[in-house]
Each structure stands twice: as structure tokens, then as C-alpha cells.
Symmetry: D2
Subunit: 335 residues, 4 copies
């Protein structure tokens, strides 16, 4: 299933070391001004090779938009696009052809499909997330016209929660050839009341599925989340208040902006957990496809903390999810 969404839909294709990756955005409303500079700037946020904290692999990430746009605006037709792969030093991965990299998808792909594209991560590579960023940028163009904004940021690396602590820890694990997990927080503001569909289409369930589909994501919570497990109901409940302008709101927001699966007008807040990337530059026990045991030592480029670069991907998935639910909401609301 390489399609995400119900009405606003992104279908993606491509492997890390094939000729190109790309996608098709379907359900884009017509008449939206397409801001190509914005797509470029979003891509730049995700791109590797930008700082000492991320993988030095360079990706030009030129997005070629092929359809669905006429005279600078969306036509309502699907927007197809491709991003060519340029810097694919496949030589780095020769050992991986034989040995299964621990906690990667090598073994499961081989078992599921009978063989695999062993150059890089193939379809399971985080390279695919570049395509999500394009989809997210298009979704954001629609959302910002409606006053809805999505903003994610790195909240935690290992057990560090301050900017300095997080950076120092990343530098340290990098120097050790190791990796570390992290947590990205995301807030959506300006969302109208009423997004989300009972029972299986709860807004937070859709956001959770979206986030859990991102490479290396191992957890999701919203509102008070796991940190609120010790609270009593009387503490965690968000009491309703009448605001000075006459609107109704909640005094606290432990619900994370969602009640009964439906947005309540407060900021939507959730957290996304990323495990340490399994690529570490250290000797690891493993087996090959024949079952022989051995030791694999990966070399070359690696991301010490994938949560850093996941920030714009979290935003992209959130933007597409909210737009999709916004379109669904339009379908049946206000009769």
C-alpha cells in the first residue's frame, strides 16, 4: 500500500538507489496557487548534508512537477512529480548485499518478496520521505489559505531535552559511530472544530497511523500522553470555559485538541518517537541469507539521530492528514 489518504491522497514510488523517486498527489483542490519556492524550501529542511548533525549524503532533490498545474494554479487534476537520484554511491553497500543489517528491513524484505534491491535501503530507505515532504508542501499551501498551520520541532534526544544537551549528545554518539533516538513534538493550530470521523476514523488515530508510517517511528501519543499516566481524571479533564469573546474553550489542553476523535478547536498536540537509526559504524553480529553467522561492520555515511531530519517529515504527514480530514469534513458537514 503505497498510497496515503482518502480524499487528499499521496501515492509514492522509488528506491534510494534507483533512477528516481516520486509521487502523485490526488485530490488537490483546484485554483490553489502553487508556490514552487516553498516546495524547495521545505525540501531543504529535510535534506541531508546540511550540518554536522546529519548524514553527509548529498541529495540535489530537484522536484520536477509534471502535471496538474496550469498557469501557476492547481487544476484539480493529479500532480505527478519526480525527484532524480543523483548521489548514489552504491559501493558503500556491498557488504550489505550479503549480510542482513540488524534492525533494518533487509531480512524481512528478502523473506517477504523472495529477493530485494540490496543497494541502500531500497524501498525501505528514508529517501522515500523526500516525496512525503513534497506532498506535505502542497497540503500546506491549501491549509495556510484556511489559517491552519503545522509546526514540529525536536523535543528530546536520548534523555536530553535542552537544545545544547541534545546537540552535545548527537555529537557524542556520532563520534562513537553510534546512534540515538529522539522525540519530535508537533502542534497544529487554526484547525476548525469538527475534524475527525467516528469510530475508526478518529483524528488522532489517523495522525498516529501517519506518524507510525515514517521510517524509524516507534511510538505516538497525543495530549497528555504517556507522561500523563499518573494523573487522575479530575486533573486530566479539560474543563470548559467561556472566553471573553463569547466562544467556548478549555481551561487546559490535556486532550491535545481532540475529544472523542474530533478536533475541539484547541491546538492539536502530539509526540512522535524515533528509535536510534539502526545504521551504526560498529561491528555487529548477524547472519547472511544462507543462515551463516558473521560480523558486519558498516562504513560510510550515517545519521546519528534521524529524529533531527524527521521534523519536516512529521509536519508533512500531519499537513496531509489534516487536509484530508478537512476535505472529508466538507463532504458531510453543514447540511
Amino acid at each position: 500500500m503505497n498510497t496515503f489518504g482518502t480524499i487528499f491522497r499521496l501515492t509514492t514510488f522509488g528506491e534510494s538507489h534507483g533512477s528516481a523517486i516520486g509521487g502523485v498527489v490526488d485530490g488537490m483542490p483546484a485554483g490553489i496557487t502553487i508556490d514552487e519556492d516553498f516546495i524547495r524550501s521545505e525540501m531543504a529542511r529535510r535534506r541531508p548534508g546540511q550540518s554536522a548533525l546529519v548524514t553527509p549524503r548529498k541529495e540535489a532533490d530537484e522536484v520536477e512537477l509534471l502535471s496538474g498545474i496550469f498557469e501557476g494554479r492547481s487544476t484539480g487534476a493529479p500532480i505527478g512529480f519526480v525527484i532524480r537520484n543523483t548521489d548514489t554511491r552504491s559501493g558503500d553497500y556491498s557488504e550489505a548485499q550479503r549480510w542482513y543489517r540488524p534492525s533494518h528491513a533487509d531480512y524481512t524484505y528478502d523473506q517477504k518478496y523472495g529477493f530485494r534491491d540490496y543497494r541502500g535501503g531500497g524501498r525501505a530507505s528514508a529517501r522515500e520521505t523526500a516525496v512525503r515532504v513534497v506532498g506535505g508542501a502542497l497540503a500546506k499551501m491549501v491549509l495556510r489559505e484556511r489559517g491552519i498551520s503545522v509546526e514540529a520541532r525536536l523535543k528530546q534526544v536520548g534523555c536530553e531535552t535542552t537544545p545544547e544537551g541534545m546537540e552535545a549528545l548527537i555529537q557524542q554518539v556520532k563520534s562513537e559511530g553510534d546512534s540515538i533516538g529522539g522525540i519530535v513534538g508537533c502542534t497544529i493550530t487554526g484547525c476548525p472544530i469538527g475534524l475527525g470521523e467516528p469510530v475508526y476514523g478518529k483524528l488522532h488515530a489517523a495522525l498516529g497511523a501517519a506518524m507510525l508510517s515514517i521510517n524509524a517511528c516507534h511510538g505516538f501519543d497525543y495530549g497528555a500522553g504517556f507522561n500523563g499516566v499518573g494523573m487522575r481524571g479530575s486533573e486530566q479533564n479539560d474543563t470548559f470555559v467561556r472566553r471573553a469573546d463569547g466562544t467556548i474553550g478549555t481551561a487546559t489542553n490535556h486532550s491535545g485538541g481532540i475529544q472523542g476523535g474530533i478536533s475541539n478547536g484547541e491546538p492539536i498536540t502530539f509526540r512522535v518517537l524515533f528509535k536510534p537509526t539502526p545504521t551504526v559504524l560498529r561491528a555487529q553480529q548477524t547472519v547472511d541469507s544462507e543462515g551463516n553467522e558473521g560480523v558486519l561492520t558498516m562504513k560510510g555515511r550515517h545519521d546519528p539521530c534521524v529524529a533531527v531530519r524527521a521534523v519536516p517529515v512529521v509536519e508533512a504527514m500531519a499537513a496531509m492528514t489534516v487536509l484530508d480530514y478537512y476535505l472529508m469534513y466538507r463532504a458531510t458537514s453543514g447540511f
Copy 2:
């Protein structure tokens, strides 16, 4: 969207205080022996009124199977079923007709739909989960023929993790008219290697969406999860080993049985966080539908810790998810 699943699908209907709830299971393979006693025993595990720890509301929960079964076996046709609502003391809820209960779905439903069934939780009531248990029981009948089992248990209540501590805490919050959250852990064993679909159909993303659709669920993680955030990649990676019987496995299971979104043959493990139920028997600030502020004090029955009764619901959703993915896997594997 009141349908769950892609090939094995459960569609549900019904409100807590209407005449009945029920559902339709589609995609049930033909020829499976239908064990009605097993359905009854699964329903009994979820039923309220069983102990001091849960709501005293009594539900007979008689499941009437209406179709899709002939001479004791599934025919491949959809299995429709209804469960009559019997013990619906709607008088208890008269105050809720006017006041929005904090952190319930009253306000969001009113805003989304223009009005709501104010008797109990309406469609947002946890009563709906009884239907999921029926769907899960049917899924388990198929899975157990394949050697796949699903088992959930209560792992934590508030910050308590021992049986005695959890029980004592529940009794205490109950006596206070308050409520408390909890964590349910679930393990799936016997799952073949290869379940899960890249990229948006990762097995853990589907499990996460399934769990997050359960009432009061506020978080999900799998494998090492949030507790592993401090681990290095070199620690968290699951090294591959050759077992005595020649098969390949992993020395540890921080991946929770899923790598690259695909089951790897190890036990699948995940956690599901439930917030404290918002129904507390204490005075709470709130507003009515006109925006007048006031105080609401709910009376009557309440569940001090919904995580207790969520255990069979977690199992049911997990069973349906795994069966759905198992059927998808059959569609394209082994060419």
C-alpha cells in the same frame, strides 16, 4: 468511517442508549467452524458489572448472529449480528443533556453534527467496543487455526505496575469518585514472517491506528518504545542469530517483532495507553450549549480505570488487524 479493515472488515453501528448495537464482518474466509461459546466467553471478559473494579452497569450482551453461517461454518458471506441494549437507565444522564461533560465527546459532536443523542455517550460510548469484541472473536477463530495467538494484559495503572498496587490504586480512586489511566501490553505470537505492507501500510502503523481508535486511547508504542529513548543504536539493534534448529532469529526483540514495517517472526509486542476515563463523580466547571458557565456533578455508574476492560478490546483489534494483514499477505505472496 465506521468500517475497520481492508479485506477482513468490520462495520459497526449503534449507540449506548439506542435499541441495539451491532456490526457486519466481511471477508471472513469460508469453512471456518464458528464457536459461539467462544464469542460468549470473549464478551464476558469485556462485560461491565463483573467486579468491584469496573462499572456496575449490566449488559446482557447476547450476540445474535444473523447471516454468513451455515451448518456451523462460515460461508464466506458477511456475518451480520446485533446485540440488544437492555440496561439503559437514561435517567442518569439528564444533567448531561444540558452541560457538556469535560473531556467527553459531547461538545465536539454537537459542533460537528449540529445536535447529538445526549443519552449516554451516544455513538462515542465505549459500548461500541462490544461489537469489536465479536469481530475479534471471529478473527481469532481463523488465527488459531494458523497457530497465531493474541494476548493482552494490564501492565500499569497510574504509576503502579504490580497486580496488588494496581488493584489498590483502582480501589482508591474509585472511593474518591475519581479515575486513573493505565497501560495495556499485547503480544502476538506465531505470526508468519512477511506481514505488513510498505510504505503506508506498515504493520505497526496499522496496529497503532487500530489501538488509537479505541475509546480513551491516548498513545501507542511498540518494541522498546518510549522506554527505549535513552538507548544507543548499538544497544537497541536486534542482532541476528542462527538458532539450533537452523532458523534465523534475533537475539533481542527491541524491534517488537516488526522490522521495516514487516513482521520478522519474533513475538509482536506493543503497548496501549488509556487516559483516565473523563467520567468522575466530582463537581467540574463546564458550559452549556448556549455558552453559560456552570458546575456539573455526574452521578451513578463509572469505570475508575477503563484500561481494565480495554484488555479484550485491545486483543480484538489486534486480532482483526493481524488477520487482515495475513489475508493481504496471501494475496501477493509466493508468486
Copy 3:
């Protein structure tokens, strides 16, 4: 796949000789007044036993609505309903248990599922269409508030196209214990311009799939259709004209109200072909499940021309399709 539709969805269950048939309507907009008398009158139109032209089988067809309605209006929650089967003289079908009835679904169901419910047509029985009529009645309640109406009528029986000719032919084939096919025409008026989705979601493709899902339907065309195969493009093209009121219309309607898969504001017209029901009261060559050849002579009740009773079913499917597309149209239009 026992679900029809994308946003407005009907999921059905039940066999002709089980305890009940029924369904779940999901995506019903909230706030629609539910007219139960109208459901009854629609059911009455389809019911057998009403005249000499149709099967004398009597079905009480009492529809019990179980959910999704509160104080006479739809709540936005799914509407579950059941219709009990009452007049199920299973004795009539004893021969069919052994012999495959020619051009029925007996053989294919046995092959697909390994066994079948041999009482009546099981899941393949036209009894299932009663559930569609309920779904259609609910859809019509929404459509009529928007000024959209759906009207079908019998246009042809065998080669007869006049009322008298059609009736006489049906009487004749009935007296012969035989059956005959027919064509139902349908017109949808008041439909706004813009319903239909390129490329695979063309409005006429959706209508065609809806009609072809009805039992015994063997063909579908719209606008000029098969009868226009001899026309030149210059004759068949619908030239645009400016009407007295300033609106744009077409001088003719060979397009059947749909151009490029999208409604153009003219009446939508299509035809639905029904083959002769395969139940005939004559000796027929056949085989049993072991492959033994033999002769089967069915007795009892039969519909000499199923097209007669298909008229309200055609309307129901058309109403649900148009409403579904209307809701989709609302999702993305007018940005």
C-alpha cells in the same frame, strides 16, 4: 465486498433463507428528517406477491431501524437496520441442494467457497436487493432536499416496448413456465453540474458499476447508448445553447447528462438490461456436485420477468450513487 460507496456507504448482509437480512448506512449527513413511511412505501414497490406479474412469495419486509436516528432525525452516526425473513418455504428448494441450477450462482459459489447455503439463492438471492431499497430510500431523503429526483421505469420486455405488449408477453412466458428479459430506463433530474471524478471515477462508470451489481443485470448504457451506434459524431454531439434565462444548456441530450464523466446539468439518462431470470419451471439438463448428469425441474414460485421488480432497485442504486458523488463533490469544490 459487501460495501457499496465511498462516502455514503451501504454495507449489507443476509441470505434469502437465513433469519434476517440487513445493512448499515454510513455517511448519512446529520439533521435529515427520517421518513419511515417513505421507507415502507419504497419497500412496497419492490415487494413480491403484489400482482400476477411477479413471484407470489410474500415478504413482510418490516424494516427495523436500530441506530443513527434521534428524535426523528439522522445524527450522522451509522444507521443499522434489519429485515427479518419470514416466508421461507425451504422445502421448495430440496432438489436444488443436489443439482446445480443452470445460470444460477450455485456452481460458482460451491467452487469458490467449498460449500454453500443451498436454501434458496443464499447470498446470491435477489432478496438482498430489499436492503438496497432501504439504503436508496435514505439517500432519496437527502437528495430531495436538494431538488434531485431519481425515476426509473420499465421500458422494454423481450422486444415489446408498449405497456400492453409488455404485460401480455409476461403473462405468456409465465403461463409457459418460462422467463424473459427486460430493460429499465432511469432519469435523474436536478443534479448540479460537476458531479463525477476524472479519470476512474467518472459518474457514468459509477452508475454502471452500481447497476451491474444488481442481480441478473447484464448490460448498461447511457445517453444515446447502443442505439446510437449508427450515428455520426456531427449528429450525436450535443450543441451548446444559451437559454432564455441566460443559462447554458445543450440542444439535445445524447450525452445522457454526462460529459467527460461529469454531470453537465441536463437530465442524466441510462438504461439497465436484465436477463431472463434463470429460474424456469421446465426440465433442464444439469449436473450435480459430483459431476453426474441429470435433469432438474424446478417447481413453485418464480418471477417471469425480474426487470419488473428491479425498477425500485435501479432507483435505489442510482440514488445512492448520486448522493455519494454529491458528497465527494462537496469535499473539494468551491475552494
Copy 4:
């Protein structure tokens, strides 16, 4: 909705006069040898400019496969591909920018989306069918390994049914600057018994929807179809016989290989009606977007009978449909 299929899925994008068209095939089983020459030969069958009977527009139709293939075989990952548009003489269409071409999609697109890509047919152009042929070629590669073949041919042009008569009629209407409709027949052989899903997923309903999604298609029937409307049930029923090899078959095939919506092992036969292409080189009354009446005379290239070039498109859609249903069948059969 620019996606076709449930498990084997084709998502397409592109306009006739944009930079490229293309698509993504998802659900391709892994391990299938990809025959690029076969794709080229299928594309050649559809390509315009090949004979006096079709439009002289030349399309190089070079298909660039971008992903999902490794060492000559499908990997199970999605296959993305693009086809560049090269010969796009947009000057020919300048008149169409102002005037709505009768029976084209110009008017409905403008109304639905607020504006349109007026260069050629935009998204509604038959150019899009080139992408379907690629999807169909991939589907055929899987089907032929299973012994399933799909073959379509032109059966009728206007009222002519002989090769000579059809060719002469096309030449005549072409010389008149006019166009004519036609009928394509298609036969699928080697299909296993059991494809098709009750109730809304009947195999012929899926085939009908697939065909009706092709540009200019106005009708579909299968088996005896509209031509059998005068037959009695006793004539049209396909009696079962035991064949010399012990298998069960039917003496006739008026059911078109499908009974109860499920394939019965006989050849699957259906017909697809194409209206005359609306592009005629003659003066036609029309209006512009402001509602002014006027006369439009199109010039340049046109297809006198689109049914000719639709033959490989019919095959492609049939192949994708059958493969999709074959994969669904694998999901639940044989438990």
C-alpha cells in the same frame, strides 16, 4: 479519483499537453520478469499515426520505468513510470480556448474546477489511456504466467460488422470530417473458477466500471447482453454438462463466463460501446464561457473512430481488473 483497482492498483497523472504523463503500479507481485519489449509493443498497438484510419498525431511514447524493478524482475515495490509528451502542437487548439467544444469535457471541467487547461483535452484527453496500456502490459505479464489471456478486437463500426465494411465506413466518415462509433468485443480465457466477490464486487460490475472509465465509452454488456433481450430463460440458460475429461462446463455461454458475479471457468466475453469521437471537422453551434453563442469549426487532427485505438485499452483495463480480482481471490480462497 485517479487510482484504479484494489490490490493491483494503477494511479495515473498527466495532461495531453503538459510535460509528461505517467503512473504508479502498486501491488505488482514480486519476482515477475519484466519484459520491456512487450510494453513497447503494447504501446505501439495504441499509438496514433499508424494508419489512415487513425489520428496522424505522433507520440513517441517512450516509457521510462523508474522503480520497482531490480535485475530485470519486479521487487514488489511500486513501479513508477513517465512518458514524455513530445508532439504537442498547442496552436491547433486556440479556438477551443474560447469556445466549448460540443460533447467534450470543456464545459463540465470549467464548471467543476473554475478553470481548465484548455490545451487539448487536458486531463480528459484520451492521451491518458497510454498510461493504462503500460499498467495493462504489466498485468498481462503476471496473467500469462498463470495461463490467462485477454484478447479484444473491433466488432462493429457504425452498423458495419465485416472488416471491409468497417474500414470503408471509417474512410468515408473521415473524408466527411465526421466521426462514427463502434463496438469492441473482448474475451478472457484461462481464468480460474471463483474470481468475483459478492455482492457489490461482482466480476462483471468491475469489468463494466473499468470499461466505462475509458474515454468515449457509452455502454457495456456481457454474455448475451442487449442482443439477448428477446430470448426466453429456457433458451438463455447455460445448461451444465460433464465433459469428456470429467470436468464440468456449460453447453452454451450466454452467461459470458460469469454466474452470480463469479467466473465459472468458461471464456469471459463482453462488449464495449464507444460513441463517435466528438471532435469533428465541421462547423458546430456552441457558446463561450460568458454564454455568447457562436460557431466553432475545429481543424487539424482527429480520430474518425476511436473504437479502433481503444482495442488495446480495453485489453489493458480487462487485464488489470482480472489480475486485481485474481489477487483478491488468493487472499481468502482455499482456507
